[in-house]
């Protein structure tokens, strides 16, 4: 069974049709990259999957359960949306770390707040917090940030901030990680340190959707690549097919422009 099914998603901003009927499926452990020019709708698609934007029409199905239906989303309470968002980890282009918290606190904040909803929270508070902190440190260590626990975002480079942001999302054990152009705000030199972290997640069989402009990376890390153009999926396939043998004219144009 597919872990995620996106069915006939449509989204308008005012009169502009940003997504015109987008559908795709992905399996557990699969890494899907979404490429395409700016304004093709790839970021909006990613944001619709975890409800940062509400699609006008269509369905999102997670593990066979419809978690979003464009016809019915108005009935969904904030609380329901909040719970469902937790199935996904989301990494932003602009990191969006919380500036007043240290790297470690950024990673532990949400797990600690969520732990308060646990029934055994009162009895085991110290134990739960200790586990959360150990887990956060383990994540930061594996992202090469072992010495940056107490640094504030303003003291970290862009690449380090983005790695903290990835750890922050992972700390909630999401089923699927969503990356929205995770390296677009970074120097080319720093880009690699972030890509390495994402690559290591792929090696650990994390299910991921990555919106990116890094073609070489998309080719190297993905099981499948989706090319979006003008609000639709114009072409999709294995990275080899997409990059060496593009079928549609639009993709050929896009790739030749990017390569220059």
């Amino acid at each position: 069974m597919a872990i995620l099914e996106v069915k006939n998603i449509k989204k308008n901003f005012g009169k502009t049709e940003v997504l015109k009927d987008v559908s795709f499926k992905m399996e557990k452990g699969e890494v899907v990259s979404i490429i395409g020019s700016s304004g093709s709708g790839k970021t909006t698609l990613l944001r619709c999957i975890n409800f940062l934007e509400k699609a006008d029409k269509g369905q999102i199905v997670l593990n066979g359960e419809v978690i979003f239906d464009g016809e019915e989303h108005k009935k969904m309470s904030n609380e329901e949306i909040r719970k469902k968002q937790l199935n996904f980890g989301f990494v932003f282009q602009s990191f969006n770390l919380f500036p007043q918290y240290s790297a470690l606190e950024n990673v532990t904040l949400a797990p600690k707040l969520l732990a308060k909803e646990r029934e055994d929270f009162k009895q085991n508070k110290a134990e739960i917090y200790r586990e959360i902190e150990e887990n956060a440190k383990r994540l930061l260590n594996s992202a090469g940030l072992g010495e940056k626990y107490d640094s504030y975002p303003c003291q970290l480079s862009g690449g380090q901030q983005q790695r903290v942001a990835i750890c922050r999302a992972l700390a909630l054990n999401p089923e699927i990680m969503l990356f929205d152009e995770p390296t677009s705000a970074l120097d080319p030199e720093i880009t690699n340190e972030v890509l390495k972290v994402i690559k290591s997640l792929a090696d650990d069989n994390m299910t991921m959707i990555i919106v990116t402009h890094e073609m070489a990376f998309a080719r190297g890390v993905s099981d499948r690549v989706i090319f979006m153009d003008n609000g639709v999926i114009a072409e999709e396939g294995k990275p080899e097919e997409i990059f060496t043998n593009p079928k549609s004219k639009r993709l050929q144009e896009f790739l030749s422009n990017v390569r220059m």
Partner: protein, 215 residues
């Protein structure tokens, strides 16, 4: 020397009233200001526009005029026994709440959307996002303009003398008239300077305390 002591005692007495106006205004205008700012950002037009109109009227007319309206207005309408001090507090609270509201609004609206979104995707409730993520950032951003308002308030308390509240300036003027001397007026300035000096130090300290992070 005796005269100096006499003037000092009189101004100290006025200082008590001045501090009373200052602190009562802050205690009530800060929460009211937050409420007004939330109203002015409301999605509901029936709340938003009346609140915006109130802000416009209060910020668009002199505080002196508002003091007179609240101090003398009730009497003109035939309502007897309006306590002048209460009138002063109402006028100051309303006036300052409207200025605070605009500062709060500016602070809240200056927080990037990404902070709210980051909170949302991490499963925080709206309340948690406000108190755990946004609030401290807002406070950091509004400290400088708030410092301004606090200093202005110290000096604005002198306006209360127009409706016969015996604060520092009133007492200084009374001394000038009764003793036929000019210097109590300048002396009163020292009191305001000292108060503003203390506030400036407090605000500098707060700014330094929140200087550990940027953004």
């Amino acid at each position: 020397m005796q005269l100096f002591t006499k003037v000092t005692m009189s101004l100290l007495e006025g200082l008590g009233t001045t501090l009373k106006i200052f602190s009562l205004t802050l205690i009530m205008a800060l929460p009211l200001g937050l409420l007004i700012s939330l109203g002015s950002m409301s999605k509901f037009k029936v709340i938003k526009y009346p609140v915006k109109t109130l802000i416009w009227i209060i910020r668009g007319t002199p505080l002196m005029l508002q003091l007179i309206v609240f101090g003398l207005g009730p009497g003109l309408l035939g309502i007897r026994g309006m306590n002048m001090f209460v009138a002063v507090i109402i006028a100051f609270v309303l006036n300052y709440a409207c200025y605070f509201a605009e500062i709060f609004r500016g602070g809240i609206e200056s927080i990037p959307k990404g902070q709210y979104e980051a909170g949302a995707v991490l499963g925080l409730t709206k309340t948690q996002v406000f108190f755990k993520v946004v609030l401290l950032q807002v406070i950091k951003r509004i400290i400088p303009p708030m410092g301004n308002e606090f200093l202005t308030l110290v000096k604005d308390t002198s306006l209360a003398n127009t409706i016969m509240i015996y604060e520092i300036t009133w007492n200084a003027k009374r001394m000038m008239n009764s003793e036929h001397i000019l210097w109590p007026l300048f002396y009163s300035g020292v009191f305001y300077l000292a108060l503003c000096g203390i506030l400036t130090l407090i605000f500098n300290h707060l700014e330094k305390k929140l200087d550990y992070y940027k953004g």
